[in-house]
Symmetry: C2
Subunit: 334 residues, 2 copies
């Protein structure tokens, strides 16, 4: 059922049946390190390049989610996947062997929200009983893609994020579980004209605000109807901007907000500056930390809002701004 | 309704309401040059970089499709868009000003099929009455992204394609027109292990074969049930491989096959080697050449199969293969 200008409320809400998370060494040493399914001993996962390592994580995350539900790849109707690398090669190389018909996505760090939105829309639309949503990021491949290869040992400003090495996969379908995706709010591109690609929190906060406020409006809810409103990777800088922007729109989410990028690393001891980021940040935190709380009923209703900064090295070298996008997923205990 | 292992047949088939096409100078000089809505005088479209030029084409193509249907951007529920550039910046920068909630896609040159599949699934699923699907490519930005900046004047092998400078946009919805999207076949990643990124036709032909044969199987059709089976940009090299592969699967499409990459340029006079390619190739040919024939009833049923080669400069420099993917869209006159 259409809700307001950007949202859908599912009449037959799909279930989030199972999930898998795999992360790198640093993520395993962080505050929620013991909650991930697999923590790598190094960040190569047996491969020779960062890109292949990221692909391997995607495949492993998918296989974990499938295994937990006792499902084979053949039973999955469609896969929705993406990553941060140019032309999404981590997803192409990672999911290839699963032989599942697939839709490649790009929404920067918002892609886990995009994938969950499309997967749940497909299930609720009657296009299949099982869909897979997967995203990944890797510190090594992302630094090479967006900044400098690690060997350069470049310095990073305090507003910079630390890309999470990790992948999270989610099986969405008609089979009952304790978490349902009851609605989605599809995000718009929001551009405040910021050009500092090393301050992604500031670039993404306006989009997060837009999607959160729109979600509340479309569903006729107030901010306290959610146990948590959880952004993907705004980090410390982005969070304070988000609070201000939301307040200007007459809302206050200071008591309900959580950010995956601030949760996954310990800023004081792990030298991660503004916080974690990347397609894998929100996805692995959802799988390992958020879903268990929804499954147990500790949280009854959560608005999950992965946020993305839309840019490439070419666009910011040519002086373009860095717009943001954020997709909202309503998750409910059942 | 689910059909076979990869396809959907829509019970309430969405309409392809209107479309817009905009191309560069060379495309305007080709065999179907007089059929495009807009032909640029140069390939910059008033901008200073190839990337901004590509973005401008995307926006113009969307506005053309909307204008022909008398629809404002505000009335469009969701936009599904993609391009070939890293992190899909042509789409982000191009569609930003439309302020339509959007899903960013990446399927290489198959993206127009991916976008049409998702847009029609959303309409048929009841998620809105109007969706927009848009893709683009640009010779200048693509050469820089995948090969060398144009200023290098590098030589290209005869198996290489010429990336189409163009963008096509499609308005899909519940409002009646003379063309319906009656079904889709979502493609799998198919990898024959080929590593020659300058021979994309060979890399994509196995995926095209897979999707075409699967479509015929899923819908219980034979190849003569379609007036045309139209691939995106296999080109001359890819076409001959496709014929062989399809024949091995017990089918023969030699009499019904057409390739947009072979149609859009004149190989003999335009020095385009294996043919046109890029996200804009299949999209602009669909808008300017294929849809009019479906609208008039000259063709009653067409299988439109854009094909993509999944690679990046990083993946092929690291020695990875170039797998392909192809999505099938069934278009019918009504």
């Amino acid at each position: 059922m259409i809700r307001g200008s950007q949202s859908i409320q599912f009449e037959k809400a799909p279930y989030l049946i199972s999930s898998g998370s795999i992360v790198g060494k640093k993520e395993g040493e962080g505050p929620i390190g013991n909650k991930f399914d697999i923590v790598g001993e190094d960040d190569l996962f047996g491969e020779e390049t960062w890109e292949l390592a990221e692909s391997t994580m995607q495949k492993q995350a998918c296989l974990l989610a499938l295994k937990k539900a006792g499902v084979t790849p053949k039973e999955v109707r469609y896969l929705y996947g993406g990553d941060l690398l140019r032309q999404g090669v981590a997803t192409s190389m990672g999911t290839e062997e699963l032989h599942i018909p697939m839709f490649g996505l790009y929404g920067a760090c918002s892609t886990s929200g995009e994938a969950l939105a499309l997967a749940s829309m497909a299930v609720a639309g009657g296009y299949g009983e099982l869909m897979l949503a997967v995203t990944s990021s890797h510190f090594g491949s992302a630094e090479k893609e967006f900044r400098f290869p690690l060997g350069y040992a470049n310095q990073r400003p305090l507003s910079a994020h630390w890309t999470v090495t990790g992948s999270g996969a989610f099986l969405v379908g008609t089979r009952k579980s304790h978490v349902r995706i009851t609605g989605v709010t599809v995000g718009k591109i929001v551009d405040y004209g910021l050009k500092d690609s090393q301050n992604m929190g500031a670039c993404m906060a306006p989009a997060a605000c837009d999607t959160i406020v729109q979600n509340l409006k479309d569903f006729g809810r107030n901010e306290m109807d959610y146990d948590r409103i959880i952004t993907g990777d705004l980090g410390y800088v982005g969070q304070s901007i988000l609070f201000d922007l939301v307040k200007k729109r007459g809302r206050d989410i200071r008591n309900t907000h959580m950010d995956c990028g601030m949760r996954i690393f310990d800023q004081k001891t792990q030298d991660t500056h503004a916080g974690g980021s990347g397609c894998g940040c929100a996805a692995t935190t959802l799988s390992a930390y958020i879903l268990p709380k929804l499954e147990s009923g500790e949280w009854r209703k959560v608005l999950f809002v992965p946020t993305g900064a839309l840019m490439s090295t070419v666009s910011f070298n040519e002086g373009e701004s860095v717009p943001g996008i954020a997709h909202g997923i309503v998750l409910e205990h059942c």
